[in-house]
Amino acid sequence: MELILALSIGVLGGSGVWLLMRPRTFQLIIGLSLLSYAVNLFIFSMGRFPVGRPPVLEPGTMGDPAQYADPLPQSLVLTAIVIGFATTALFLVVMLAARGLTGGDHVDGRRQDR
């Protein structure tokens, strides 16, 4: 199971890195999104992958870390997802502005086909 998830992180991250080095703004946006999936999964993996542990406490009890899913990576990833959305939106707008100003969608703002 761990290997599957490690491999998926690698595939997501590798695809993201590949797209980061591409010349088109849209490729960059997709790449950053893929990379953020990989990173979120990696942070999430800090809680390891136990199956069947409830995430929500029984009312009136103190939680035992051995019984419940680790909440800390979850809350970290949750904020990361929301902030990731915000940066994607910001980047999209910058991309649109650059497209309008330069007439192309090359990351350096020049018409080049590489």
Partner: protein
């Protein structure tokens, strides 16, 4: 304690005065001068109060203010004999300069700035000489450089002043950096930066292996500041400063700071061959070259500047001799030079002020028109030349005596000393004669810009005081300056203070003969050079090719232009791809380096069995990711869909491993992101697959990138796998799990962490979200789409709208339902998966669906969302919850909870955290909607500028733009005129409202949605 008060006042008062002066109105000249004068006088009084009785008896006044004692950094103020002599020069001559400047400065000059800088410089100089800590000394050292820069460049309209100021700053501040390094070395050797500790550690320093580097660095600082060869060239260019500044900085204070430093460290650093060779050669060259060049200057201030360089060389040479007697002479000459040179500068300034020129070739016969000034200048110049019965004579005699004594030493530099001294004295007589004879004698001419006359009496007073000092010291040295010189010399030399006699007449000896020879020789030399000088040739014979300024400029051009450009060309890149590639490679390299010592073995954690479902999910997810990477260039829509596939795989993983909150949020964000990117796609250029992609070079590049990407992916896999096979260390999760219910009142631990335990982080996060949304909004206000994407896209032409009729109705019906789910998610968040983030996103999706199904225009007509109001309300609510906790005396964002029994509806957890979560909800909703509709609105906005499509059957024609506000000109190129495609309807007659009132007008402030009709 009064000592501490006096010392800190002596430094603080000038700064305070500078601040007050700077704030005074520009026309309060008189007041500012009085204020500056009072400050200088009070500073002088403070020095006097410190001087008696402690320092006069050879003691040290010291006061320490702890700052960072752990680092040995304390504010230490310390005054001993040497410091007191320098501080009297700083404050005393400062006082005279203020008086002089009061009359010198023209009413057109910004006076507050002048006096403010002057006083601030005075404070820095006081701080420098009164520092009892080396770091502190360097700090004030740089402050003097800075304020001298501002003073030299005071007439900022003049290019000469600006260049001179920049050069002075570059040279002296670079020297200051070297000094800082040297001082750090000294502190390292001694183990303390405290001056007293350093002064007690002479042997440690001289025997230390780092002595030579420290010496070179410290002397670099001192020699640049004191304008010693080869750094002397900045001083003549600093003469672009107003004359009071020259009189103050370039005779008495700033340039003496280097001398002060050498004198200060003399007890601990002198006495070695390196000391003698560095200082001796620099001093001797400076002494001779300065004096020689001074003869050929036509500008009075230029002559005085080179003479100053020469005299500073003389003092440096004395300090280099490693002889206590020479040290006494050096201190004495420093005082003497300050008096006669300041008065000469002032005299030159008076001549400039009253005649309008400083050119010796044009000046003539002023003896008749300005008799008083002429007498004063003559006495001061005679002191400079070393004429008996004036102070310059005595210290010069001491200098010659010292050179004769040193000549017995074996080295060649030693044996040259008397000759250099004699030659320099001859030159000094020659340039002094030129100064006097050129300006005051000869026929009266009408050539000068103004008719010369005597200056106001008060303007002459400072010169009179200084010249009086020259004479008194020259005639009665032992009775006047003797005690002070003694205290100063003892504070440096201590027990080693030699016997010396301050007398005018030492009998008929060799030094006296040499002085007389110099007087006669100088007069002869001047006579011989008459013809050359009166020809008015610019430049110095023999040295014409050695131009320090040109060399400086070349170095500056090389460093700041050519060298920088070359480096940028070789090492820099403006290409994003290269930068990112470098970044990725460095990251991989850093990871490899960090892991290489220990390797990346597997941990001992027992692996969980592979689940085929998750395996399948990730086969699909991984395929989606790779396919998205492959398709992102030419098939954006496909890539976007594939990205969503990968996102879904992530989402399922979250569900599988007990993270429902994450799954919900991820799913919603996925929806919102996809729509966002879809909205953006509309503006991207069409991209068709080229045949060129088969070329060799781009293919090689892609192979390289592929290898990098594979390496990055494998690295990520390895690191994640190694991490996952280890037991996770006991973190702070237990804290949250145990307290989530008992202290936070919620069973959904993740939500309790977000809104309660780490509420402050969340508060920061939603603020960031709000800022991003506003930035997006602001950027889109000035959005200029590319001309070819302005028109209605193909997909929207024809009867596309009809296809959406059924979905549109469905979505409208769904709207309240989705809204209710959003509120439900919000309210249950404390106990069950959900919360403000998920709820806000859900509500945003509800709005979004209306946009997708009904079209931007329809929604804008029927629905008014006020994203900005939602956002501000959310932020205020969240912040207000925190403040409410403070109001009852708890820390910011402390939460309170209880359960409200709602009867049939169940028990509702009512925690103050819920109110906070509602704030989060409102802000997330507002921010998301603002971003989405700001982008969505662009198509409506630009289509208004575009040609109107033919009316569709059964639909009302799209509204024409209202004649709103006038449109900015820059919008024109994107208007219909730029769109020349055939087959379109007639252009819109009115101004193309690409930037109509919708986005720019005030109503966008509250809605962003209501059209301009």
């Amino acid at each position: 304690m009064p000592d501490a008060l006096y010392l800190s006042t002596a430094i603080g008062l000038p700064y305070l005065g500078a601040l007050v002066t700077a704030l005074l109105p520009a026309n309060a000249r008189r007041l500012e001068a009085w204020l500056a004068g009072a400050v200088a006088l009070l500073t002088l009084v403070m020095v006097w109060l410190c001087y008696y009785p402690t320092i006069a008896e050879g003691g040290v006044v010291r006061s320490e203010i702890a700052w960072v004692p752990q680092l040995g950094l304390n504010l230490v103020l310390r005054m001993d004999g040497l410091a007191s002599v320098f501080s009297v020069m700083v404050a005393g001559i400062g006082l005279l300069v203020v008086l002089y400047a009061r009359y010198y400065m023209s009413s057109d000059d910004p006076i507050p700035r002048f006096f403010a800088f002057l006083l601030a410089f005075m404070g820095s100089m006081m701080g420098l000489v009164l520092s009892g800590n080396l770091i502190q000394l360097v700090f004030f050292w740089e402050m003097t450089s800075l304020f001298s820069f501002l003073l030299i460049g005071y007439w900022q309209h003049s290019a000469q002043a600006r260049d001179g100021a920049r050069m002075a700053l570059t040279v002296t501040a670079s020297g200051g950096l070297a000094l800082l390094a040297g001082v750090l070395l000294l502190g390292h050797m001694v183990g303390s930066y405290d001056l007293d500790r350093v002064l007690a550690s002479g042997d440690v320093i001289r025997d230390h292996p780092l002595y030579l580097p420290a010496l070179v660095l410290v002397l670099l600082g001192a020699l640049t500041k004191s304008a010693q060869f080869p750094f002397h060239f900045w001083l003549p260019h600093a003469m672009a400063a107003p004359t009071p500044v020259s009189a103050y900085l370039h005779s008495a204070t700033l340039v003496k700071a280097g001398i002060f430093l050498i004198t200060r460290l003399w007890p601990v650093m002198a006495g070695t061959d390196a000391w003698f060779w560095i200082l001796g050669s620099a001093g001797m060259i400076t002494l001779l070259v300065g004096a020689y060049v001074a003869i050929f200057q036509h500008d009075m201030k230029g002559l005085l500047a080179y003479s100053t360089i020469s005299h500073l060389g003389l003092i440096t040479l004395l300090l280099s001799l490693n002889s206590p007697l020479a040290m006494v002479a050096a201190i004495f000459h420093t005082m003497n030079h300050a008096t006669f040179k300041a008065s000469l500068f002032m005299a030159a300034g008076i001549i400039d002020h009253e005649t309008g020129t400083r050119d010796i070739r044009r000046l003539s016969g002023l003896n008749a028109t300005m008799p008083f000034t002429a007498r004063l200048a003559m006495v001061a110049a005679a002191a400079m030349a070393g004429v008996p019965l004036l102070n310059g004579f005595i210290s010069k005699e001491m200098f010659i005596t010292e050179t004769l004594m040193a000549a017995n030493a074996p080295t060649i530099l030693h044996s040259m000393l008397p000759w250099a001294a004699a030659l320099a004295s001859i030159f000094a007589v020659a340039y002094s004669l030129r100064f006097i004879h050129g300006a005051f004698f000869g026929p009266e001419t009408g050539d000068m810009p103004r008719t010369p006359h005597e200056p106001p009496q008060w303007m002459r007073l400072p010169v009179e005081v200084l010249v009086f000092g020259c004479m008194v010291v020259g005639i009665l040295p032992a009775a006047t300056i003797g005690p002070f010189l003694d205290v100063a010399a003892r504070s440096v030399l201590g027990e080693a203070t030699p016997y010396y006699s301050l007398a005018v007449w030492h009998g008929f000896n060799l030094p006296l003969v040499m002085s007389l020879v110099a007087l006669v020789g100088g007069a002869l030399l001047y006579r011989l050079l008459q013809r050359h000088l009166s020809a008015g040739i610019e430049g110095t014979p023999l040295l014409r090719r050695f131009d320090g300024r040109r060399a400086f400029d070349q170095v500056m051009v090389f460093l700041s232009w050519r060298f920088a450009r070359t480096l940028e060309r070789l090492l820099g890149t403006s290409r994003l791809q290269t930068q990112l590639r470098l970044m990725v490679c460095i990251t991989i390299l850093a990871a490899v380096l960090a892991l290489s010592p220990q390797g990346l073995g597997l941990g001992g954690l027992e692996l969980s069995p592979a689940d085929p479902v998750i395996g399948l999910v990730w086969v699909a997810g991984g395929a989606c990711a790779m396919a998205a990477a492959y398709q992102a260039k030419y098939h954006r829509l496909a890539a976007l869909a594939l990205l969503g596939g990968a996102g879904l795989a992530v989402c399922i993983t979250f569900v599988w491993f007990s993270a429902p909150d994450l799954a919900v949020t991820q799913l919603l964000v996925e929806v919102v992101t996809t729509v966002l990117l879809l909205l953006g796609l509309r503006w991207m250029p069409k991209r068709l697959e080229f045949a060129s992609s088969g070329q060799l070079l781009p293919r090689l590049r892609r192979y390289r990138d592929f290898v990098i990407a594979v390496a990055a992916g494998l690295g990520l896999t390895a690191i994640s796998y190694a991490t996952m096979t280890r037991v996770s260390p006991e973190g702070i999760s237990r804290f949250f799990l145990e307290r989530a219910y008992t202290e936070g009142g919620g069973t959904n631990v993740v939500n309790v962490i977000l809104v309660d335990f780490r509420g402050f982080d969340t508060f920061g996060e939603i603020t960031v979200l709000g800022i991003v949304a506003l930035t997006v909004f602001a950027l889109l206000r000035r959005f200029r789409p590319a001309p070819e994407s302005i028109g209605v896209p193909e997909q929207q032409q024809g009867d596309a709208r009809d296809w959406m009729a059924v979905p549109a109705v469905t979505m409208r019906l769904l709207f309240p339902l989705i809204g209710a789910v959003a509120v439900y998610l919000l309210l249950r968040g404390h106990d069950l998966p959900g919360g403000g983030f998920a709820g806000g996103l859900m509500l945003a999706v509800a709005i979004l669906l209306q946009y997708m199904a009904g079209g931007t225009r329809w929604v804008e007509d029927h629905l008014r969302v006020h994203p900005l109001r939602w956002m501000s309300a959310g932020l205020l609510l969240a912040g207000g919850t925190g403040l409410a906790a403070m109001a009852v005396g708890k820390p910011f964002l402390t939460s309170y909870f209880a359960y409200a029994d709602l009867g049939l509806l169940g028990r509702l957890p009512v925690a103050s955290a819920l109110i906070f979560d509602i704030g989060v909800f409102a802000l997330v909703f507002g921010a998301t909607v603002l971003m989405l509709i700001a982008i969505a609105h662009q198509s409506v906005r630009s289509q208004r500028a575009a040609p109107v499509p033919p009316p569709l059957p059964g639909m009302a024609p799209p509204a024409l733009p209202a004649a709103g506000k006038p449109v900015p000109l820059e919008a024109a190129p994107h208007g219909p005129a730029a769109d020349g495609r055939p087959g379109r309807a007639a252009p819109v007659p009115a101004a193309p409202a690409l930037d109509g009132p919708l986005m720019d007008g005030p109503e966008m402030g509250n809605t962003g949605l209501k059209g301009d009709r």
